[in-house]
């Protein structure tokens, strides 16, 4: 029996049981629109790729990481003793940041292409939930090395849930595992990071991807206005898939460049009795809400300011989340324009408050 015959026979055996041909036939039939904004279609795939990188590097880190009192020492060993441990850790941290960046780009591209409109509302909601979980992934992972910066940043970060009226202190205490950030907090964050969050993220991701398959790629309003015969599209397989994989490869290059040229550093071991280092600040993806709360705090000092800030912020997120119920029509009417301006306002607010946050830290 030749190799080709053997491969065919093996494929036939698997195909009979799993129906691979049907999947391949479906993928060949599936079409992806081609237009001036097609570039934005790739950002969901890039986010997925970076998530896969995190799973792979996270599993490798899991082999050597020891939560609890030995957390810092184990990260020190990974970074300075284990062969290529620094590279795996750097790739994990950089891919986390790049993934959040890719998700933000994906979210705004979906928003401005109006891809949240019927029948894709659940795609929008599940995407927003995935973003929320991804930020919690970032927050929980940030503490795990237990160096000076991560310790104090987490301490400051947990002040936000603490400020929620009535239930806030209880939530913060539950997350900390006590009144202070200690090795118990690391233990809890570790469980959250490697068990709870993946258990939530993975099925939700599956649901999100299934919705994309079910409804296909949304057309931006400018394309929808065209007659169907004037619209261009390519087959998902192999045309779009090959391009998607090329984007993955480019993302891998960017990741390799960042991880190898700018390895993720490890600060001093935390000292709970030491004063917080100067310029302590949250990660870039939390900088905007952090700065907004800070600005509101100066306008309305005291507890009132904190509560007003949280309420305003929650209201903004709710409006953003519920946009599919407001802007429903395919026609470019008043509501569509309002939603568009709301999106532009959100982008400007996000960018300016983030820049302002970094600027004030430097002062």
């Amino acid at each position: 029996m030749t190799t080709k015959q053997l491969t065919n026979s093996l494929y036939g055996w698997v195909d009979e049981r799993l129906g691979l041909s049907e999947i391949a036939a479906f993928a060949r039939l599936k079409r992806v629109p081609v237009h001036a904004q097609s570039f934005w279609y790739y950002w969901g795939g890039i986010s997925l790729f970076l998530f896969l990188v995190q799973c792979f590097t996270g599993i490798l880190l899991l082999v050597y990481y020891r939560p609890g009192a030995e957390a810092y020492e184990s990260v020190r060993q990974i970074t300075f003793v284990m062969h290529f441990g620094w590279l795996i850790r750097s790739a994990h941290s950089w891919s986390a940041n790049l993934m959040l960046f890719a998700i933000f780009v994906h979210m705004f591209s979906v928003y401005f292409m109006k891809a949240y409109r019927s029948p894709r509302e659940f795609g929008w909601f599940s995407g927003m939930a995935l973003l929320a979980i991804a930020t919690v992934f970032g927050f929980s992972g940030y503490l795990l090395p237990m160096d000076e910066l991560s310790y104090f940043a987490t301490k400051v970060g947990l002040e936000i849930p603490n400020a929620v009226p009535f239930i806030g202190p209880a939530i913060a205490t539950m997350l900390r595992g006590g009144a202070e950030v200690t090795e118990f907090t690391v233990q809890r964050f570790f469980a959250l990071h490697v068990v709870v969050l993946p258990a939530l993220f993975l099925p939700l991701l599956g649901f999100h991807l299934w919705l994309v398959q079910k409804h296909g790629n949304a057309l931006p309003p400018s394309e929808e206005a065209k007659h169907p015969s004037d619209r261009k599209s390519i087959a998902f397989m192999p045309g779009f898939l090959v391009k998607d994989l090329a984007m993955w490869l480019i993302s891998l290059n960017v990741l390799a460049l960042l991880a190898s040229v700018f390895p993720w550093s490890l600060g001093k071991q935390f000292d709970a009795l030491a004063p917080a280092p100067l310029g302590i600040h949250p990660e870039w993806y939390f900088m905007s809400p952090f700065e907004m709360l800070k600005i509101l705090g100066t306008v309305l000092p005291g507890e009132m300011g904190e509560i007003a800030g949280l309420l305003l912020f929650t209201l903004g997120i709710l409006l953003w989340l519920l946009i599919p119920f407001y802007d429903r029509n395919k026609e470019s009417g008043r509501r569509a324009r309002t939603a568009h301006y709301f999106g532009i306002l959100a982008v400007i607010l996000l960018l300016t408050t983030t820049a302002l946050g970094y600027w004030t830290i430097r002062q």
Partner: protein
């Protein structure tokens, strides 16, 4: 030292050169490779039997040559002049050596620049205005002139890494220029030239993909397919030959420099590589990606190949080129001119004299207090920092000394400075950092300055640059 120090806070003067150079190299190497691409494409079109496709090719080449003229003739030229300004300010000692040693080399280079700029303008403005054969000849003249600029500059650039024993033997005697050809055809000249030719042809193809991507695939599928595929072929020679040429190049690099590849400059972990090795690996990864992306996006789907795809390939080429130039610079450490001048401008034979007479005694541009009044230790230390460290380090930004010295007290900083001064062969810094030159007083002064920055007295007050002691 004969020149003033150019202090660029945060970014560092090295990056001023780096940023201009990477941008310039992307364009200047296109000027060479693209110079070959245009007449070859024109000749191919002239030989085509199908006149319709030949005319479409010619029309596309007119568009491409306009892009080529603007990019190379404007941006390439301006950035080239920018490099001269940048290196003159950042490394005046090294620039002076290059000018004195290669004065006729530079003169020839500039003659070819003038021919290049003239012919590229003539080439573009005479499309369909002069006899096609004469037009093609203009293209070949341009190709020859631009290749000559590469042939010359390659000799000067490789000289900085491997000046060769013959030139080193006469260096400092005033007869350096008599060994012009030895310095020019130095040990790494040929592998470097072939490597750069490969990069030039690749960039010719990559930039041509930019203009080819603008062809409407629906309106002119045959033109787009043939143009895109022909441009992709320009990437092939380089990607086949580069691994062998790179091995040859590294074989010609002195053993002392080659060890940098296995040394952890950022000494971060077991199983780590030095920065230069990591950067070199980036070149390999990115080059392989360019091949894969060009094959799948351009060769397999030429009609759908759009500007975003072409920009992605260009971005990868930018990463590969930037990494290549950075690695080449890093491989030269601790010298700016191999075995002759350290990266901070101190000549190797001057070390003993500076250690006896003091570093500042030979720094002509350092301000001294009037009436011979003594300057403060802090101020002298700052001047030494700028002269000896400032070429590679900044205080607060790139390769920040504040970060590198963080955690050391005064005694720790002093020990570190002494270690750099002694520069023992077994020192981990010996292979990639110049020795700290100067008298024990200079070491004290540098320690004083660094300590004031790393461990500022509370409240910290900024001190003036140079102050006379009262």
């Amino acid at each position: 030292m004969n020149y003033p120090f150019w202090d660029i806070p945060h970014l560092g003067s090295g990056w001023v050169i780096g940023l201009i150079a990477i941008y310039h190299v992307m364009i200047s190497q296109f000027a060479v490779g693209g110079g070959l691409y245009l007449p070859m494409a024109e000749r191919k079109a002239m030989r085509m039997k199908d006149r319709a496709i030949a005319d479409a090719w010619m029309a596309q080449l007119v568009r491409h040559s306009k892009f080529f003229l603007i990019l190379t003739g404007v941006f390439g030229t301006v950035s080239g002049v920018g490099i001269w300004f940048a290196i003159g300010l950042t490394h005046p000692e090294a620039t002076s050596t290059l000018i004195h040693n290669f004065v006729f080399g530079w003169a020839i280079e500039w003659v070819f620049f003038i021919i290049e700029l003239t012919t590229v303008a003539v080439y573009y403005y005479t499309w369909n205005r002069i006899d096609p054969r004469l037009h093609l000849t203009v293209g070949w003249v341009y190709a020859g002139a631009s290749a000559a600029t590469l042939i010359i500059i390659n000799g000067i650039l490789t000289f900085m890494l491997t000046p060769g024993d013959t030139w080193i033997a006469v260096a400092g005697t005033g007869h350096e220029a008599s060994k012009f050809w030895n310095a020019f055809f130095n040990p790494t000249y040929w592998p470097s030239l072939l490597l750069r030719i490969g990069v030039c042809t690749s960039l010719a193809g990559i930039w041509a993909l930019i203009t080819s991507s603008r062809i409407d695939g629906d309106q002119q599928p045959a033109l787009k397919t043939s143009m895109v595929r022909w441009s992709v072929k320009w990437l092939v020679p380089s990607f086949v030959a580069t691994p062998f040429l790179l091995a040859w190049y590294l074989f010609m690099v002195p053993e002392t420099q080659r060890t940098l590849l296995t040394l952890g400059i950022d000494t971060i972990a077991g199983g780590t590589f030095s920065t230069v090795t990591r950067i070199a690996l980036i070149i390999v990864i990115t080059s392989a990606t360019i091949v894969a992306v060009a094959y799948y996006l351009a060769w397999r789907n030429p009609a759908d190949f759009n500007l975003s795809h072409a920009m992605a390939v260009l971005l990868l080429a930018l990463i590969a080129t930037g990494s290549g130039e950075y690695a080449r610079e890093m491989l030269r450490k601790p010298f700016v001119i191999g075995r002759w001048m350290y990266s901070n401008g101190v000549r190797v034979p001057s070390i003993a004299r500076l250690n006896t007479e003091g570093y500042l005694a030979h720094s002509n541009w350092v301000w001294t207090a009037p009436d011979g009044a003594a300057t403060s230790s802090y101020s002298r230390g700052e001047a030494i920092f700028r002269g000896e460290c400032g070429s590679c380090h900044t205080m607060y930004g790139y390769r920040s000394l504040l970060r590198l010295m963080n955690g050391r007290d005064r005694a720790g900083i002093r020990n570190f400075v002494v270690m750099l001064h002694d520069d023992k062969p077994d020192s981990p810094y010996h292979k990639f950092m110049p020795p700290m030159t100067g008298t024990p007083q200079d070491m004290d002064d540098l320690t004083e300055f660094l300590n004031a920055k790393v461990n500022p007295p509370a409240p910290s007050r900024p001190k003036p640059l140079l102050t006379a002691q009262r």
